[in-house]
């Protein structure tokens, strides 16, 4: 177990270093960092001074080392456009993205798993078939289009819900702002979180359904039925329990995807999160923000992947048995 965790940790470090290298290469070689920081009327000597003070004349490996070290402390330099530290800009918006992703993940799980179980158990029913057709629509509808349709229905036609921004937010601990505590904040969350959740929801639902159908065909389920156990016990104690192991994995991985897909949702709803910051950075070629976002997302992914792997290892005794052999 210890050896497994150590190996996994080492792999994660390699991934992070690779991503950091890409991020650094972007920062160093896409456009001229000096040109991006100074105005038109800066003299050549001043430029040379800036290049020297930024350490741009040092050997590549030294520069990369410095970049990686600074990144570890959360220092990603100054945004070209906002002229402010990137870490500050991201920190301001982190809470917005995390709250949105969290609500969407809960929504996807709470709706997706029961729907998956239902469609597996009544796989021939008309309601199940209807749900399956709808889920295919969910896969084929691009996220931004779902957002637009929701805005059109609930924002423009019915005028029930706000369609942009976070509403009123409350400060906690100085940098974390939450929309959970005000009515307008909660109302603003509804449409974006549904938009973001739909793709994951359909994915989880289809996965639970497929796994459930598979498990229901296995011998131990047949045996449990033969023993005369009631349907409820067979379905939920035997079948669902075995279904949930892969569901945990996929859900964990999808959590990272949620944060990335938040880019689109945030753009549609003008949600002031990291994704919106990133997409504006792409349009403006604001490399420090792009590099920082890349490293941050990679970090989220690596941590989530690792936790999921270790959880998996802890949950499924078969994996441990394999390693022992």
């Amino acid at each position: 177990m210890i050896a497994f965790i150590f190996k996994r940790l080492l792999q994660s470090v390699v991934v992070m270093l690779t991503v950091a290298l890409i991020a650094f290469a972007m920062f160093r070689f896409v456009g001229d960092p000096v040109n991006n920081m100074v105005g038109q009327d800066t003299t050549d000597t001043e430029r040379a001074q800036l290049a020297e003070s930024l350490g741009l004349n040092d050997p590549f490996i030294v520069q990369f080392g410095r970049f990686a070290f600074n990144a570890m402390r959360g220092d990603f330099g100054i945004s070209y456009k906002y002229r402010r530290p990137v870490s500050e800009l991201i920190l301001e918006r982190l809470s917005a993205t995390l709250e949105l992703s969290f609500v969407s993940a809960v929504l996807a799980l709470v709706v997706g798993i029961p729907l998956g179980v239902y469609t597996a158990l009544r796989s021939k029913g008309i309601i199940s078939k209807g749900i399956m057709v709808l889920s295919l629509m969910g896969v084929s509808l691009p996220t931004f289009l779902i957002g637009i349709l929701l805005i059109l229905l609930f924002g423009v036609v019915l005028r029930w819900l706000p369609t942009f921004g976070r509403g009123d937010v409350v400060d906690i601990y100085g940098w974390w702002t939450t929309g959970f505590l005000t009515v307008s904040g909660l109302k603003s969350l509804i449409l974006p979180s549904i938009t973001l959740a739909i793709f994951q929801l359909t994915l989880i639902m289809r996965l639970v359904r497929a796994e459930m159908l598979e498990v229901l065909r296995t011998d131990f389920v047949k045996f449990a039925r033969a023993r005369g156990l009631p349907d409820r016990a067979v379905h939920f104690k035997h079948a669902l329990k075995n279904t949930l192991v892969p569901v945990i994995t996929i859900t964990g991985l999808q959590l990272g995807a949620l944060i990335a897909f938040a880019i689109i949702t945030e753009s549609v709803f003008q949600w002031p999160g990291m994704g919106l910051l990133f997409i504006q950075a792409v349009a403006d070629v604001d490399i420090p923000i792009m590099a920082a976002y890349l490293v941050l997302i990679a970090f989220f992914f690596v941590v989530i992947n690792m936790v999921v792997d270790i959880l998996y290892y802890a949950v499924d005794p078969r994996l441990r048995a394999d390693a022992a052999v």
Partner: protein, 309 residues
């Protein structure tokens, strides 16, 4: 002589499992017809479109924001209405679908070529080359493809000079979407190559001195094409969505040659003034196209999967 071979190939296809399964699957037939109609409509857009939306002399600002023909104030000349500049929505959809499909197909082909080559090399050569390629694939696979496409697009904006950006953006887009999708192909091809490599016919070919490239091309590749076609079909749907998403986010194709995604983006600004048709109709076209391709891919996967037969 040549005709005879052609005929026998067609005959073989008609006798094959694939055609048999296709004939008996109404969903596959409908989605195939829809896909073909949309591709044809896009390909012949200049002939079919009732108006030329990009000819500035032909559009009239007086026709701006006309609702669809069946609504009040609708104009029979513009079936699906017009946008804010008086362009016929139906015509812009035809031209937009054209761009969407070109980008979709081109990026799928690009990803396919890169993925298949690296997969073949990885599986056939093995050792360190294999470990290296697969490690990169693993790392890339842990990020959503849309993020990778966005990053490549952003970097390209920094590298390409501003004045060339508009001309090159479509190629950048194809490259970005293609690169973000090669991993699936490489993994599948590598897996099949590992299996085929040790079969006797490949061993025999090697013994009689056929060059590795020829073996890969003539013997291994044909045996891995089945799963590749399934991936390609599903990837096409994904590539069209990705293109639309990037264009919607404003980092895809320029507004001068709008794709379906760009049209939706443009229309989105008029949503609140009640001109819903500018954005909804391109959206519907996009969904129909993606849904049809997805259904076709689903059928192909089931039809080629020996487990389900």
């Amino acid at each position: 002589m040549e005709q005879a071979i052609e005929k026998s190939r067609l005959q073989r296809f008609l006798d094959g499992d694939l055609w048999h399964s296709f004939k008996r699957n109404p969903v596959a037939i409908i989605s195939f017809i829809v896909t073909v109609i949309m591709i044809a409509a896009a390909a012949f857009a200049p002939l079919i479109a009732p108006h030329d939306p990009f000819n500035l002399a032909a559009i009239d600002i007086m026709d701006a924001s006309v609702p669809p023909a069946w609504q009040e104030f609708g104009d029979p000349r513009f079936v699906l209405g017009t946008d804010d500049q008086g362009r016929d929505i139906f015509s812009t959809i035809l031209y937009g679908a054209r761009i969407s499909l070109i980008v979709g197909f081109a990026s799928v082909i690009f990803a396919m070529v890169v993925g298949i080559s690296l997969g073949l090399i990885s599986g056939y050569v093995g050792g360190r080359t294999d470990a290296f390629i697969m490690r990169i694939a693993d790392i890339q696979l842990s990020f959503p493809s849309i993020l990778i496409a966005l990053l490549i697009d952003g970097v390209a904006r920094g590298v390409v000079p501003k004045e060339m950006h508009t001309d090159l953006s479509i190629y950048v887009l194809i490259f970005a979407i293609g690169v973000s999708g090669w991993v699936q192909y490489a993994r599948t091809v590598r897996g099949s190559t590992l299996v085929e490599k040790n079969k006797e016919y490949v061993q025999a070919a090697r013994v009689i001195g056929i060059r590795p490239l020829t073996i890969l091309w003539r013997h291994v590749l044909p045996n891995v094409m089945g799963p590749v076609m399934v991936i390609a079909t599903i990837h096409l749907a994904l590539a069209i969505i990705t293109e639309a998403t990037l264009s919607f986010l404003g980092v895809g194709v320029p507004p001068t040659t709008p794709s379906l995604g760009t049209l939706i983006r443009i229309g989105n600004e008029y949503l609140f003034s009640g001109d819903w048709w500018i954005t909804i109709f391109p959206g519907v076209a996009l969904v129909i196209l993606v849904l049809a391709v997805n259904l076709l891919g689903d059928w192909l996967r089931d039809a080629l999967n020996p487990k389900l037969r």
